[in-house]
Symmetry: D2
Subunit: 394 residues, 4 copies
């Protein structure tokens, strides 16, 4: 446990707060829940607990701590996710097989690194160190969201449909549907470089937008159900060719977490299996499904520039943040003039800029303070286990 002493520097206090929040997310889970890996794209919660710690140890303690010695020599490989610049990585699809170190070993690892980090921060905070600590905290917040989505996917594989948190956060409702008008023109896109941002949000640059309209809220369960009921998953003309292949190869007929039981639609969520709520936003949709729905609805998905411009110019739009990530039609690509950071940290974003699509906003699982209009989330077109929804454009 980290002690919250009054004398903590704000950065150290924030460090302690973020780290504790991760532990709080794991608190409702058994050791077994934290061990299992439900698919190669997901990771065990225990791995998330360790990897976020590895990030601080590798990128901060190793270069900044005097007399640095690793907590455990094997962890450098075991908890490296994908940083080739750091060295080899343990096989991703087999993360669920590492039963030792135990969860309590990993918690001890966290406590050790936390203590050393706080000691380091107490000795001074150069701009470089501050920037890396902030990056580590933002990184940990991203994994906080993944802990929620990964464990929910794991529990969804259980025929008993256990709840992660019975008193789970509910998605916000969006009110009546309206088209909002935006004039477009040459607009600025990307972060201004002040405050924290990821490298993929830079540089701020100009794009030309034709006039467009954006939906005032996300597509609801009732609306998506109308698409399903209209034969949406049986009619190829709604789907991208690769999406139609995806539907047939996986025999899809509905969203990932929807279940038809005794003539009623039920939806699996953080609180287990409950009746479908018509006014709640449709969640856990892939890009393919979002695209097909938009085609069926006679609309389209927005580009990320359209979404960002709207978010910045009309702060009154409901459900932009905190409900569901919103698929855009923009492939994840570098902004003009993009430069990855030097060193292994530069592998954070740039190398993933292919065959993925940008999602904007944030979701009910995004930790507080981790949202902004220029934020670029990204996933492959078949990803369905995130809290991803649809905001239409035209």
């Amino acid at each position: 446990m980290l002690e919250q002493r009054e004398t903590l520097h704000p950065l150290a206090a924030r460090f302690a707060q973020v780290r504790q929040h991760t532990m709080a997310l794991a608190a409702p889970l058994s050791d077994e829940d934290c061990q299992a890996q439900s698919m190669p794209d997901a990771s065990p919660v225990k791995w998330h607990l360790a990897h976020t710690t590895w990030f601080f140890e590798t990128f901060i303690l190793e270069p900044f701590e005097a007399g640095f010695a690793p907590f455990h020599s094997a962890f450098r490989v075991l908890y490296n996710s994908y940083y080739n610049g750091v060295g080899a990585q343990y096989s991703r699809p087999q993360r669920g097989l590492v039963t030792r170190p135990s969860r309590s070993d990993v918690v001890a690892y966290r406590e050790n690194v936390d203590a050393r980090m706080l000691a380091l921060l107490a000795r001074g905070r150069s701009p470089e160190l501050t920037a890396l600590v902030e990056l580590g905290l933002q990184h940990e917040q991203q994994h906080q969201e993944l802990i929620v989505t990964d464990v929910m996917h794991l529990l969804s594989m259980n025929p008993l449909f256990p709840a992660y948190q019975p008193e789970a956060m509910l998605p916000a409702l969006g009110g009546p549907f309206l088209w909002r008008d935006f004039a477009g023109g040459v607009v600025a896109v990307g972060h201004d470089g002040e405050q924290f941002h990821f490298d993929n949000e830079l540089p701020r640059h100009r794009q030309f937008l034709e006039p467009y309209q954006l939906a005032s809220r996300l597509v609801t369960n009732a609306e998506y159900l109308a698409f399903v009921a209209d034969g949406g998953y049986n009619e190829p003309s709604f789907w991208l060719a690769e999406g139609w292949d995806f539907v047939r190869a996986n025999k899809l007929s509905q969203p990932l977490y929807w279940h038809r039981q005794d003539g009623h639609w039920r939806v699996f969520g953080l609180d287990g299996l409950t009746d479908l709520q018509p006014d709640a936003p449709a969640l856990n949709l892939s890009y393919f499904e979002a695209s097909a729905y938009a085609q069926w609805a006679g609309a389209r998905l927005p580009t990320e520039a359209e979404w960002e411009h709207a978010a910045l110019t009309d702060p009154s739009l409901p459900q932009m943040f905190g409900t569901a990530w919103q698929w855009t039609s923009s492939a994840y690509a570098p902004y003009p003039g993009f430069r990855a950071a030097p060193g292994a940290v530069g592998e954070y974003n740039g190398k993933f800029m292919v065959n993925q699509y940008v999602l904007r906003g944030s979701s009910l699982a995004t930790p507080p303070g981790h949202s902004r209009a220029t934020y670029r989330n990204f996933f492959p077109t078949g990803a369905r286990w995130q809290f991803s929804g649809i905001r239409l454009a035209r």
Copy 2:
């Protein structure tokens, strides 16, 4: 054989010419060469001969010919590529198993449809009919290029490395390397709608470009060899993450058609296996390889808007057309306001706008008259059997 009568209307004459060119491309090939399918992405030459004919029969003769009856009732399914609006399709990876109809049956099919098409065209040419004929001819020209690339891939699987045409066209050389400057700004992108164009080139719209530079020519074999020799295929930092997975999964160490024999580099081409020509452009590269090379070279790939703007504003640029398709960093996506054509013909382009990247220009295998600055070719990131090369930008 189509008779070239003096009295042919220009559209009919063009029809006859394009159709004959397809037959000329198949002329050097045996029935066996025309039968085999080397991979699911490629098709047998015999299938190309039949499918292009099916296109005219299905989309023109069926609606326009009085008393239409199909040449063979089974061909509607057998030679449908991917048009769900027309109905079922024969399994694509098994096209090489259809030994009957024979090649001579398919040639008879071509001759039958040719004669009926010419008779139809002799009776009148409404704008709608004219547009569909032109689409059919452009479609056939696309398959002419595929005939060349597919048969070359087939012959590359043969340990004897037979030549398709000993007197094959050679790629043009590009001269000295220079960076050409372009000022950018708000530029118009897309086709103006006059003359033939595909639906994906519309609508003409505005984009904002930051100032940029484009290479005066394509990357040469000698330059790409330097990348290989520098350990290009062994160093993950040059590669997109998915590209690096691609390299390792396929154990790649060089371009698809390069062979190391007795200490010498040899390259398979339309004229068989010959010594690597240092000044010739590096060909048959995937997007992943193009991206990795650019990263190694300290540059990047151009966007498709940059490429198009340069092509339109500097006609003196060498190797823009007729040598190799040039990978851009632009994912294949609809232009703002894009509308697919109604009916099955609307499946031509739009449904492929995901997880593919745009190539611009044209190649040595592109038939004459089938190139323009607004043309958008597209392939997945792992495609290596096209005549695809690299033009750097920065």
Copy 3:
């Protein structure tokens, strides 16, 4: 063409006859038919034509012909099936991609080797040479059967269901069903070593058989249809566990070549698609299907020793030869004291003695003179494209 001169030695005459029979089997086929490979387990007819020739060139001409020079240096690898002792092999699943050499090139190869073989045989026939020639001819006869089964599988993939030979041989009918009694005891199994035999038929040895009964004929289409109609493919209790996995993975509901059209059962055969003949034997069944049928019928499959003993002691049993190979419950294994021949020829049989099951008898596609009671055919449990049927035991 081989000339049948009166002065030919009987071995040479037999050589000429067997070689000509192979050509006759290919005569109804186009070059395209001879090129295609329908699955990795099957081979193109052109490959069979070449490989059987390679066998004589490699195992006879190379050691016995004075001044031997290969017909083509690349053929040693190209047409080697699986003899590691000879060297590398061309990838089996890609045999259908070798469009050159053409069929006419392969025929020229055959004629060249035939002429050299006849010249060699005219100069003398040592026992060793005679034995190898006979092995080569028996080997060619095995491939004659494969030509028929492989081309039938290829044509079955064609939605037009073309016939290989409209006047195809029909399977013999078996008459009324009777149980025949055999007393068992210590019986001799295996070939006595006189006349031609494969090494896997040796040594003749003793086995103890409990008393048993064998069906007087093969299971008919009508009988197998009763199994299908009784839900045979939907009830796991009839199937071996691995067979049930096979049924579900491949979504099987009937034999490979059975088709349900407009309420009628039709069967694909050498003469195309025809109505199911109730009294004809059920053909093209896998071991899994044979086993499941036997379980449903309250019987079992015979062991190979039982089958052989019955064949030798009751020559009046119908359909033992010339109709369908008959699955036995015996895994393909070496007889006690089995010794493979030295050298590459020793790879003929022994190395396949695992995870395959023995079939006894011969089929309508087996060439004349290639059957005997001790003959051991073998295929994996999922093989369905051979003329394989069921004779029950209990």
Copy 4:
């Protein structure tokens, strides 16, 4: 915990003892160790704990207990391994994803069923009930061995190579190598039907054996190392064809648990990673490896009849039991006259009698009292995670 009251009937006492031994095997393991599944062929320890309990609940309590009610309605599917006669089964490869019920829930399930079983047994023990209890105990003993082999495989995937039990049982040594002679003839094979036996050991029947020799002990690590050092994994002539494909597909160069570190051979075992012991038996070998070693050594594997006859006639043979299961060349097949038990229990053995090979003896992980000369263990040819070794014959 089961109370060991003095008044327990011997069958109840044995029930309590076997059930407690299972718990003792899991005692050194954490909840995380018990959760993970390292491959589809293995199961989580927690699943073994539950499935063995399910066996008693389903096959004994359900039919015999008055007023039976299931402990949990979902367990019927969740812990059914492969009994189609009982109904659906949870997906085998996903057993590691069921984090709830927890291990403590499963222990409660065990305790509940134990108490009800003991109460049932206290009320009377009909022959049918006694037979089913004994079958359930033998079944549980089989899973006791699987707990050891499955958890060892799991731990072997961990780069830290943790030990299951530091004080693990060591395999017995076998002494000097000798060939032992057996005269053969008509011998009896199979269980006599007295005492407990599985249905696959019946009926006792006659087989004829040619004279043979059997090795006095198992192949040692030193001997197997000589095979490895002689290029055993690089020379196809030692291997069955399918075995050679297995070697190449899996890039094998040594046994599963052997590791070459700094020029020394080390072996992973129940006590972690230790130096290779030359005189200890080579363990964890597949059938393919056993067959290749025998070929290299100029010998062969025994048939199961040879092994059984030797075990019964020469009780002085070392290492027949308690060290390693010994591959035989006999495919797993029904004995003449074999009849599976009626009902779902009949799925225990018969349906697996295809494409597997028989192992005889028992291993260091086989629980006490679970060995006999007629016992038929069986695994597919590629299985390497069992304690399986080689005893040569000729």
